[in-house]
């Protein structure tokens, strides 16, 4: 059994107008099953309104499915008794860095989760220092979060989750508000946690470039899983992705264009390096 098991879930919410009358029911998730293995790095891609954030919130027991069941580390999320265990084993990092930092000093913020879990003081300090070192934010531990860059703030937020010793971290569009450097910082941190600490990572994003290192990509559309596969498999389906309000990285698009023009290249080229290597292999002798 995987760390996260999503069994045919649906989620609906009621849209109301200003007077509170029911305007209609929105089916944000419409029959999704997903099994996430321990230590996996999985990316969930999808355009705005595809339901990917709603899905993320199901894993952290912020929302409960209307139909079906979500198990996190073997525990049912809709069972009230499991809620704190689940939130501890599946940590969540949100989109807006300013709206998720609670402490006014970096280290106090990182300590917030362990404090809530009722961990003894000396161990909290140990966990905070360790988490800050892992995220390479230790030298900023006494700083005010307001003075940090976007990428640094998100790393503090990740450290706050890491200090709770989760088995899995969900990043709900955590890079959407960052500049390219900040995005790189956050992705690098996520990959390191996955590689070194073997933490399961669920990365939710609409930036294709960020997903190329994942073990598996799930593409969502209108509350359903539209595609699933390895990055190579997904990225070779350029036209389908475009229909789902998504786009491929420029290097992949270039490879696709070259292939259309008759250049001999393999499927699913993910990066510029791969493209150059593939070109060398086919044409270097000329």
């Amino acid at each position: 059994m995987g760390i996260v098991e999503i069994d045919n879930i649906a989620y609906e919410y009621i849209r109301r107008d200003e007077e509170g009358n029911v305007e209609g029911i929105v089916r944000a998730i419409d029959g999704i099953s997903l099994d996430i293995k321990k230590g996996e790095f999985i990316s969930i891609l999808g355009g705005n309104g595809s339901g990917k954030s709603t899905l993320a919130k199901q894993i952290n027991a912020i929302l409960y499915p209307c139909e079906g069941t979500v198990y996190v580390d073997g525990k049912d999320t809709s069972d009230e008794e499991n809620i704190w265990d689940i939130r501890q084993s599946a940590g969540m990092v949100f989109q807006n860095p300013d709206n998720q930092i609670i402490g006014s000093v970096v280290e106090e913020d990182v300590g917030f989760g362990p404090e809530n879990m009722g961990i003894p003081t000396p161990e909290i300090i140990e966990r905070v220092n360790e988490a800050l070192k892992t995220l390479r934010m230790y030298e900023y531990r006494k700083h005010s979060p307001n003075r940090l860059s976007g990428g640094q703030k998100q790393r503090v937020a990740i450290a706050g989750v890491v200090a709770m010793h989760p088995k899995c971290i969900i990043m709900d569009e955590s890079t959407a508000m960052l500049d390219p450097i900040g995005r790189k910082e956050v992705i690098r941190a996520a990959r390191a946690l996955n590689d070194v600490e073997k933490v399961t990572i669920i990365l939710i994003t609409h930036y294709m470039e960020e997903t190329i290192y994942s073990d598996r990509i799930v593409v969502m559309d209108k509350g359903r899983v539209a595609m699933t596969g390895t990055p190579k498999e997904i990225f070779s389906r350029v036209d389908e992705l475009k229909k789902l309000r998504l786009s491929v990285p420029q290097s992949t698009a270039l490879a696709y264009e070259l292939k259309k023009r008759g250049v001999r290249l393999g499927e699913g080229i993910l990066s510029g390096k791969e493209l150059v290597t593939a070109l060398c292999r086919s044409y270097a002798t000329m």
Partner: protein, 268 residues
Amino acid sequence: MIRDITIGQYYQTDSVLHRLDPRDKLAGTLIFIISLFVAKNVTSYAVATAFLIAVILLSKVPMSFILRGMKAVVIILLITVLFNLFLTPGITFVSFWKIRITYEGMKTAAYTAVRLTYLIIGSSLMTLTTTPNNLTDGLESLMKPLGVFRVPVHEIAMMMSIALRFIPILMEETDKIMKAQLSRGADFESGGLIKRSKALIPLLVPLFVSAFRRANDLAMAMEARCYHGGKGRTKMKPLVYRGSDYIAYAVIIMYFVLIVIAQRVGML
């Protein structure tokens, strides 16, 4: 301009005052404020002045930084002083047109000005040398006995610490929205009172919407990190009194005794 407000801000440095237990500083500030109302003559004010200067020096917060914070309240200060100056009855010093300034008025105005200034400097010294979290920890700890009367002490403290964290963010946001609406031709400066308050709608609506969005996000982020009220919660930095904290208590009590004596035996 908004950046100039230093009240409630924390000034990061390392000083005796910074290291002091927040309960010390809270109690000390309270006693200092009471002392300002006890003091009514030059001698006792001299004692208060000496004490305040000593504390400022100990805090290592630059004087310019403290004074910058005063700019924000200078108008309130002025109004109070003018009220006292013109509206206190007594022996006339000068009078012209319908306005009469009395000796008593001048005296009260001067004392009020000093008292208010000291009050603001004193309390901003507390916030300047104490991180908001530390401050609320102190408050929580001092108010703990109220828990017996079902006062939600922890919740109040948490609300305060969050409010303090979001003040600078919302200030920045106000600045940004203001600029954006100015770019759309908004005018916040001309017209009478009604027109001006109407002009604030394009600023206030987005600000409230944003504050609610942030509150919503934050609540979710806190829950995701297992926050469930004060029950069963431990502290990363529990408050423990050290030797220097007892000395500080002794100093502040000595100061208060001194003020009372100065008030009794002092001049004017």
